[in-house]
Symmetry: C2
Subunit: 317 residues, 2 copies
């Protein structure tokens, strides 16, 4: 096999952790992280890209390890001031974080595409691998619930995932184009990794951008997903709750079925090892390992195992 | 004379100081501060109202006493972050200050007029007197200079008043309306005070809003200006430089002539006492006193003298 080229699809926290593991073990130039922007939204006049920021902050080593979102050593003066004036504080924006949103919004208004802005920010933060938002087009995710249609952050942060989900809509996705470099990175990759992010609202929007799924499927390559469901639970976020509300038992197997024929390999936690047989019966190789990433070292270790697994699959063709 | 009703016209630092002095000595309900908004501008997608904020922060006791602008106990995380990403930092926005601009901009986008927002903010900050922006219409000041026409904050902050001034333009002022309460407060006042703010770019725009000058002149009342020029210098800001560049020697007398027939009284510093005769010859009474406000007590003392002077003029009719 030629030099390994990895493209990873990622959403927020779980995706960012595995992306960080991959960044730790792969040489610069061999990893492209393609990030969901379906959770982007406009708030307080600012364009906020939570998944892109979580991935970038994590790769830059400036993420808040306690929350999983936002920045380390953050202060909250602006938000406290705004709150004292009666403004909305349900979406917590730290002062440093605000600086990022202000500058991103300024550049977007100047006409810079999000992908270029993200590239520039990554350079400022010393990120040596490539991070690309899935699209420069604004394709906000809407969540259908028993309380009506909610914007994703309204559902996710403001309503804390309480409403019962009945479906999703990625607004404008049919006309969205992959950001420059996305299709190229996917076509050039010999291993595509679907990070342990929410299949519905993190990986789903990426795969829904016209052209991205095809670039994963052709030319043929190893495609490995890491299950975000471990022991019937999501490590973080509403993935398991969503599966249940959509009438599907939340299991690693359910995630493997979700991705279906796209996958050549699937990584599950050892607690779910009993599901291996059924996944393999569908023609998907499995790797069963410790899939919970608690420490930075866990990320690198899991990333190493995923890459090794993918490399074997790639060689098998 | 009936209960004293004072309306004060104010710009930034000097105006805010005298307004604070007036607020210290006058009972709530008897003082309305009408603030210049000609220096308002849009920056980083935010509506920023430097003079309104300086007046409000000062009256609320949360102004930064060292700089004269911005807030006390301020932090700069957002601006540092934005700067590290290559964004513009020439207009220094502290984190708490940003919270104000974010919430004001949010409300403006919802359609709230600036005067209502300012009233709400004053209430949050415990300000017991009335503060009204001169107009709810956006009437940005442009400065004609030897380097072309510059937005006011571009001239004032970014270029630090270096370009040579040839004139001013208050964009859209001919169609601006006084904010609700402005004309009422001026008509009801028996004393109008022009604070020691820049006559060209702080008091000038207020007087240029159609209807404001008339409401000062009718019904007839005492109108007292406090000279911002002391010993040929401005305590703060470019007023003296502007006079020189416009071919006028910067003196208290020049300021008195600037306001002309609007004035019934003029307050000058003792260092300028020799100009009293010439000012009085134009039919304007003078009060010569220590007009530099270094401490909070200075503000109250000067305000007391100005009010007493104005009260005498009002009684004389």
């Amino acid at each position: 096999m030629a030099q390994l080229k990895v493209a990873a699809l990622a959403g927020g926290v779980g995706g960012a952790k595995l992306a960080d593991g991959l960044a730790q073990i792969l040489p610069p130039g061999s990893l492209t992280v393609i990030v969901n922007t379906g959770d982007d939204f406009e708030h307080l006049g600012l364009r906020i890209c939570p998944d892109v920021d979580t991935v970038c902050y994590t790769l830059a080593g400036i993420a808040n390890p306690a929350t999983g979102w936002g920045r380390a050593d953050e202060t909250w003066q602006a938000m406290e001031t705004l709150g004292a004036l009666g403004g909305p504080t349900w979406f917590r924006l730290g002062d440093r974080d605000l600086g990022v949103h202000l500058e991103r919004t300024r550049r977007l208004r100047m006409g810079h595409p999000l992908s270029r802005i993200t590239r520039d920010f990554c350079r400022s933060w010393g990120i040596q691998h490539t991070v690309i938002p899935m699209s420069d087009d604004f394709v906000p995710t809407w969540v259908y619930t028993n309380e009506g249609e909610l914007g994703f952050q309204e559902y996710f942060v403001h309503r804390q995932c309480h409403p019962q989900v009945t479906g999703f809509r990625f607004e404008g996705i049919e006309n969205a184009r992959p950001a420059p470099g996305v299709v190229e990175a996917l076509r050039a990759a010999n291993l595509v990794i679907l990070c342990p992010s929410n299949p519905w609202v993190s990986i789903g929007p990426i795969l829904a951008v016209p052209g991205i799924r095809q670039a994963i499927e052709e030319p043929r390559k190893a495609v490995v997903a890491v299950s975000p469901i471990i022991g019937g639970q999501a490590i973080k976020g509403p993935a398991a709750k969503m599966y249940r509300e959509l009438g599907i038992e939340p299991t690693a197997l359910a995630v493997a079925r979700h991705y279906g024929s796209l996958l050549s390999g699937f990584v599950i936690d050892t607690v779910d090892a009993s599901q291996s047989g059924e996944i393999q019966a569908a023609g998907v190789q499995t790797l069963s390992t410790a899939a919970v990433m608690k420490t930075r070292a866990d990320r690198a270790r899991l990333a190493g195992e995923v890459v090794e697994f993918g490399r074997r699959l790639a060689v098998q063709g």
